[in-house]
């Protein structure tokens, strides 16, 4: 209980928001808008899971937004050429993994700071994409949107898939040895090395992992609209990092879990619809999200000071 206080407090905040909405704006809970909200957030959730792993390893990846755009556009072009969905999906995942491997190689192989490396790849990928595509949209064949299903079925598939993925990964982080390596490396890389773990390999694999997840998320997003906008992933990195940090994953590594990241994501995602239902100006959205992030960071700071005393 005490150990998961941080996660539970975010869950409590989310519950408070939901109860508040139930009292003041019950319309928030009408099924179709709620399902749409969850569908929109499904790709973000997948990337957030990867980001949680990266941050637990005491690294960061701010290139996810650009990787997302590159994967989206490439997958869109392949689909437009008539590739079947069953080939486009793995292609997008593989492309993401490849881009992640570049980050991983630079961070783990050359031991460069991940913030600088991924800042560089973020800008390079983004500008490279702009240069090649000149901002052009890609029109998708009909069979891609909602996987050729009805909208409702497509939404359910996406939300279901993201939840299954979350549960599987959260269990794996706890129950598979590899998950514990991620925590060990993030807490104390040198101690992990002396225990026979290879910190650089773990770091490399984690970057490949988040790349692959970003490729997957790009596909999950692709299925939601008739065309691909080259700017679709812009700002994704901030959204994802915010969710993970609000959810109690320590930016200093080694602490936190995916459930926390999930609740953090939901809490931030609720802000916008809640404002609409409460008839508050939408300008408040970013301010409130910012305040939540600040609160989370302050809470972590106080907690860290408490530990050091």
């Amino acid at each position: 209980m005490k150990r998961y206080f941080r996660e539970l407090s975010v869950l409590g905040a989310l519950a408070a928001v939901l109860v508040g909405m139930a009292i003041f704006a019950p319309a928030f809970f009408s099924p179709q808008p709620l399902l749409s909200l969850l569908t929109r957030e499904a790709p973000t959730l997948v990337v957030a899971c990867g980001m949680a792993c990266v941050i637990i390893t005491r690294q960061i990846d701010i290139s996810v937004g650009s990787m997302f755009s590159v994967c989206s556009v490439c997958a869109g072009l392949l689909a437009a050429r008539g590739w079947p969905l069953l080939l486009v999906l793995p292609a997008s995942v593989a492309l993401g993994a490849l881009l992640g491997a570049v980050n991983g190689l630079l961070v783990a192989g050359l031991r460069l700071p991940s913030i600088v490396v991924t800042l560089a790849t973020m800008v390079t990928l983004r500008q490279g994409l702009n240069l090649v595509r000149q901002g052009e949209f890609v029109n998708l064949p009909d069979r891609i949107q909602w996987f050729g299903l009805s909208q409702m079925a497509g939404q359910l598939v996406l939300v279901g898939a993201s939840v299954v993925f979350l549960v599987a990964l959260a269990l794996a982080m706890r129950h598979v040895a590899a998950g514990r390596f991620v925590y060990a490396v993030g807490t104390d890389a040198e101690a992990a090395r002396l225990a026979g773990i290879r910190p650089q390999l773990v770091t490399f694999l984690v970057f490949i992992f988040i790349g692959a997840l970003t490729g997957l998320a790009a596909m999950m997003n692709l299925a939601q609209s008739p065309q691909v906008q080259p700017l679709s992933g812009a700002g994704l990195e901030l959204k994802v990092i915010a969710a993970v940090v609000v959810g109690g994953v320590a930016i200093s590594g080694g602490r936190g879990n995916l459930w926390g990241a999930f609740t953090g994501l939901l809490l931030l995602a609720c802000v916008s619809p809640a404002l609409i239902h409460l008839h508050i100006e939408a300008y408040w959205e970013k301010a409130i999200q910012g305040a939540i992030i600040l609160l989370a960071v302050v809470a972590d700071g106080l907690r860290a000071r408490g530990l050091n005393r």
């Binding site: 040895a177 992990a192 026979g196």
Partner: protein, 503 residues
């Protein structure tokens, strides 16, 4: 009667918690004197420096500077009173120039005042010239060699008006030529009336440079002599000066005949270890003694694949090994309990159970489903077996005392069922009770047939626990002595004053 000494310490006492680091030190330093301070590891030299430089407050005794009794010395008042310390690793700003480094120590300016660059440069030149140092004030400190950096430190100290200069093992990382340069500077300081406290493990330096020498042992000063009145043997006798108390558990078994580990002319250029040859048998505790910096931890790091050997041959149970990484070493059944357990032995944030299984996951990487039940059972077994005092397997590593952390660190490696166990300072910073428990565990492991390498700076421990003692110095094995040897012989071998000893 000579004039009032620059510095006089009387019956200085310093306790850290329950540990008595200094228990009555008397020490005098005259102007124009080089006074050497000698003692084995843990004798209290570092603590004494910390008290003299004001970093730590003594718990008793008096400190007198030029006839004035000083209480509540702080680092800034110590500096103002003319006390400067040159550490082995100079504490300069590597990205600033020599002149800027000097200015940071010497110029008392507010943040907004204008910098007089020509004056700054001129002052740097002046102090460097006084030391006979050919260093450009415009050079970045990063580009200087180690002795040049030490000269800059000394310039800072003199520029600040230091009357007392403490040098802590200044020659440890210097070449012969650089040493001679440094000695010339020290002699020059003496001529100018500066008092130098010179700390070194190298006896020949002390005889070459010092006027007097004071020996510390177990936190006490056991004698001050003019260097002309004492020889090497006499100094070693003062440093050791005691019999090994019979607090070590008796060996319950004799080592087997089977050779477990064999090293032949092993060396590693990167870490300075060269030409090390010895054998460890199954069930044997092979102690590695020597002074700090002798190359013992470096040797352990070779055996654990952290800094791979680039020459020689290592065999374990007859099989030749190439140890390029810790993973390779673990796979071959080598376990290493590292020196600095707070930093690298136990992950303080993780539960004890996770800490315990950390080294055995490796084999299953990356797909095994963890069996929490089995992990817990294993943890409980070890907690019972090694008598780890803790709230339970889920308690974080950081909640344990030093001795119990060490047991967890040890248990992690015992869980790998190793063939060779390397213990690096297993009882450092551990209280007496836990220490003797750890000794009993080590004995038991040897009895069960494990080959153990025990690295310890605690001379009685090495002598009392080991079946044989390899004494290291200068990156190589100087001698192999039988367990229970006289401390005097071990110390003499560590200091390199004799060449005796055989396998």
């Amino acid at each position: 009667m000579s004039p009032a000494p620059l510095l006089a310490l009387r019956q200085l006492v310093k306790n850290y918690g329950g540990v008595r680091a200094l228990r009555g030190v008397d020490f005098d330093l005259q102007a124009g004197e080089v006074h050497a301070l000698l003692g084995e590891n843990g004798a209290g030299k570092s603590t004494l420096i910390k008290v003299i430089t004001g970093a730590h407050q003594p718990n008793g005794g008096t400190l007198t500077l030029a006839g004035q009794r000083v209480a509540n010395l702080t680092p800034s008042t110590a500096r103002a009173l003319g006390i400067a310390c040159i550490y082995q690793q100079p504490a300069l700003f590597p990205d600033l120039t020599v002149a800027e480094n000097l200015a940071l120590r010497l110029e008392a300016t507010s943040a907004s005042s204008r910098i007089d660059w020509p004056a700054r440069r001129a002052r740097a030149e002046q102090w460097l010239a006084r030391l006979g140092a050919e260093i450009s004030p415009e050079a970045e400190v990063r580009s200087l060699s180690m002795p040049e950096q030490q000269l800059v430190e000394i310039a800072c100290a003199l520029g600040a008006g230091a009357r007392i200069v403490i040098m802590d093992e200044p020659t440890a990382s210097l070449t012969q030529k650089e040493q001679r340069l440094l000695f010339a500077v020290v002699r020059d300081l003496r001529k100018n009336g500066v008092g130098v406290i010179y700390i070194s493990h190298r006896l020949e330096e002390i005889f070459a440079l010092a006027d007097r020498v004071t020996v510390l042992r177990d936190g006490q000063s056991v004698g001050t002599h003019a260097v002309g009145d004492i020889d090497e043997a006499g100094l070693i006798r003062l440093m050791v000066g005691r019999e090994v108390a019979q607090i070590y558990p008796a060996a319950e078994s004799t080592p087997g005949h089977r050779v477990a580990l064999s090293l032949r002319a092993v060396g590693c250029r990167a870490s300075g270890v060269h030409n090390v040859s010895f054998e460890v048998r199954s069930g044997e505790i092979f102690g590695l003694g020597g002074l700090v910096g002798a190359g013992r931890t470096e040797l352990a790091r070779i055996l654990f694949g952290l800094t791979p050997a680039d020459s020689g041959e290592i065999t374990l149970h007859g099989q030749r090994l190439t140890l390029r990484s810790p993973q390779a070493a673990v796979a071959q059944g080598i376990a290493y309990v590292p020196e600095d357990r707070r930093r690298h032995g136990v992950v303080l944030e993780l539960p004890i159970a996770h800490n315990l299984t950390m080294a055995i996951h490796r084999r299953f990487f990356p797909t095994t489903w963890l069996r929490f039940g089995a992990e817990r059972a294993l943890a409980l077994d070890f907690i019972r077996d090694l008598a780890v005092k803790c709230a339970g397997p889920d308690a974080p590593g950081g909640s344990l005392s030093g001795g119990n952390q060490q047991k967890v660190s040890l248990a992690r490696w015992l869980a790998t069922k190793p063939k060779l166990l390397i213990l690096d300072e297993p009882t450092q910073g551990v209280d007496v009770g836990a220490k003797s428990e750890i000794h009993k565990i080590i004995r038991r492991l040897a009895k069960e047939g494990l080959a153990v390498i025990l690295i310890s700076s605690d001379l009685p421990e090495v002598i009392g626990m080991s079946d044989r003692i390899g004494v290291m110095g200068g990156g190589t094995l100087r001698a192999i002595l039988p367990g229970g040897s006289a401390p005097h012989d071990v110390m003499a071998a560590a200091l390199g004053t004799t060449e005796k000893g055989s396998v």
